[in-house]
Amino acid sequence: MAEAILQLTDLRKNFGALKATDGVSLDLRAGEIHALIGPNGAGKSTLIHQISGSLTPDGGSIRFLGQDMAGLDMAVRARRGLGRSFQISSLAPEFTALRNVMLAVQARQGSSFRFFRSVGSDKSLTDPAMAMLARVGLENRASVPAAELSHGERRQLEVAIALALGPKAFLLDEPMAGLGPDGSKKLTGFLDALRHEAPILLVEHDMDAVFALADRISVLVYGRVIATGTVDEIRANPEVRRAYLGDTA
């Protein structure tokens, strides 16, 4: 069995009386897509926020590449190699698509405390950024401000930015959300190949995509993982069918 890149152990987070994350343990191994599914309000986003560092867990541990991530903020985690996309697109709206990706390239290269050289003419930023846009099929939209991109294009841009970070693991929070069938299909093909670059923890509502992509699936209900297994195991699991998929699925 491949070693775990990301390991959550007994993670807990309460909002008042609500147990949003209730003793979650799961891992992400090299080369896999691990899908996290669950009904609305199951605590998927809360979990992603704790992994990426925007929420502090009340208990339990998150280990990434063998190191405890407790107390590290989002920026440090990103620099360590955790590339995330957001459920609701989170871009710099006034920047063009290219400059959004260039920001990630710049961050990956290290210091942002360079005050004089112009970024516009800096090939070490523009070339890799353009290459990432091309990978997600946005190269023709490079000079369009993010605010003017279509919803689907913004989702693609999110992925391009995550790619540009050259991460050791991807956290993708509903990358298919709001995409049409064509878009979903294209992105599914894309993610399928991406797992060999870095493993993906995928939160997704699109079941076709999840069943097509996932090596393993964890089902989250009321903050607890009620089952983890392969696609077939999850499909066959009666508890999952009852709680989530519905008996007809």
Binding site: S54, D73, A75, V76, P93, F95, T96, S118
Partner: protein, 326 residues
């Protein structure tokens, strides 16, 4: 770029006006207009400093008068000591040399801005506005209650400070010194905006989460911007003290902080020439309407209202269209 953008042309026209009008005034002996132009240049410099924090970083500092006033007091205090032949603290020699005064003003403002920024930047939005205001008010009341340097009455400079090889007592040479400083600061602003630091800073304004998610800590970026911003505004303060040969706590007041924000909003925030356009309109209003009515700021208010409602990009935005980030 093949064709010049409309903003570049507008900027060129403003720069030309700023240089040519005082020269014409000098040629015709109308020194008052040179002083007016110098006032425009210095206020533009102060606002340009604030524009680094506010325009690029989205940090609405309502306390930049603190740095403007500190710069002014540095010029006033050093000059007063030098004039009276007294040493400063720890026996350091005082001076009337502008370059030295500028250096001291810039360094002091940077040093003061560092803790103010470090504390204020833990907040955002309205709280940031209020906490920067609070710090500025602390410095204001300190100046008011410190009798050694005039307290509430302020401090007069007997003669304008000196600059090697230039007769600063003449209006035109002093104007040209100020203009050169403004030009240098504008270059700095332009370079900063186009750099990696500028990219990170502008991203921090638009979306701090995005900046964190790519691995850049927004706090440090904003703090450095705040400090640089304070230094530029402080330099303007030193020049302002020399222009008026007078420093008083009013330079530190919250009205002054507000005025700087108004200049930026009026001209166009985040734009290279925004503060310059804003300062021109502001000073010309003050001059043209101030002679007719004491209530000239009422009319300025109307213009500001119009800009905020109908021209979010400021007056420059009205001329040049929306800012684009290549």
């Amino acid at each position: 770029m093949a064709a010049l953008s409309r903003e570049t042309i507008a900027n060129g026209v403003l720069a030309l006006l700023l240089l040519v009008v005082p020269l014409l005034a000098a040629a015709s002996g109308e020194t008052f207009y040179i002083t007016l132009a110098t006032r425009i240049v210095i206020l533009a410099l102060a606002a340009l400093g604030l524009n680094i924090a506010l325009g690029l970083g989205g940090l609405v500092s309502f306390g930049h008068a603190a740095f403007f006033g500190l710069g002014g007091y540095v010029a006033g205090i050093l000059a007063t000591h030098a004039f009276n032949g007294e040493a400063l603290l720890f026996g350091l020699p005082a001076t009337t040399s502008m370059p030295v005064i500028w250096l001291v003003a810039v360094l002091l403002c940077g040093l003061v801005a560092l803790p103010i920024g470090a504390i204020s930047l833990r907040t955002s939005g309205v709280y940031f506005i209020m906490i920067t205001l609070a710090f500025a008010q602390m410095i204001y009341y300190f100046a008011v209650s410190w009798p050694d340097y005039g307290g509430e009455d302020g401090l007069s400079l007997y003669v304008r400070n000196t600059f090697p090889g230039v007769n600063t007592a003449q209006p035109l040479p002093y104007f040209l010194i100020c203009l050169a400083v403004l030009a240098a600061a504008a270059c700095l602003f332009w370079l900063l905006r186009g750099s990696r630091f500028g990219a990170a800073l502008e991203a921090a304004r638009q979306n701090t989460t995005r900046l964190s998610a790519v691995g850049i800590a927004p706090f440090r970026i904003k703090l450095v911007a705040f400090v640089i911003s304070a230094m530029v505004t402080g330099l303007a303060g030193a020049l302002f003290a020399d222009l008026n040969r007078f420093v008083s706590p009013s330079m530190l007041s919250w009205q002054m902080s507000g005025e700087l924000i108004v200049l930026i909003i009026l001209g166009g925030k985040g734009r290279l020439f925004g503060p310059i356009a804003g300062a021109m309109v502001y000073v010309l209003f003050e001059y043209a309407l101030g002679g007719i009515t004491e209530r000239w700021q009422f009319f300025l208010g109307l213009v500001l209202l119009g800009v905020v409602l109908f021209a979010r990009g400021g007056l420059l935005g009205l001329v040049a269209g929306r800012a684009r980030h290549g």
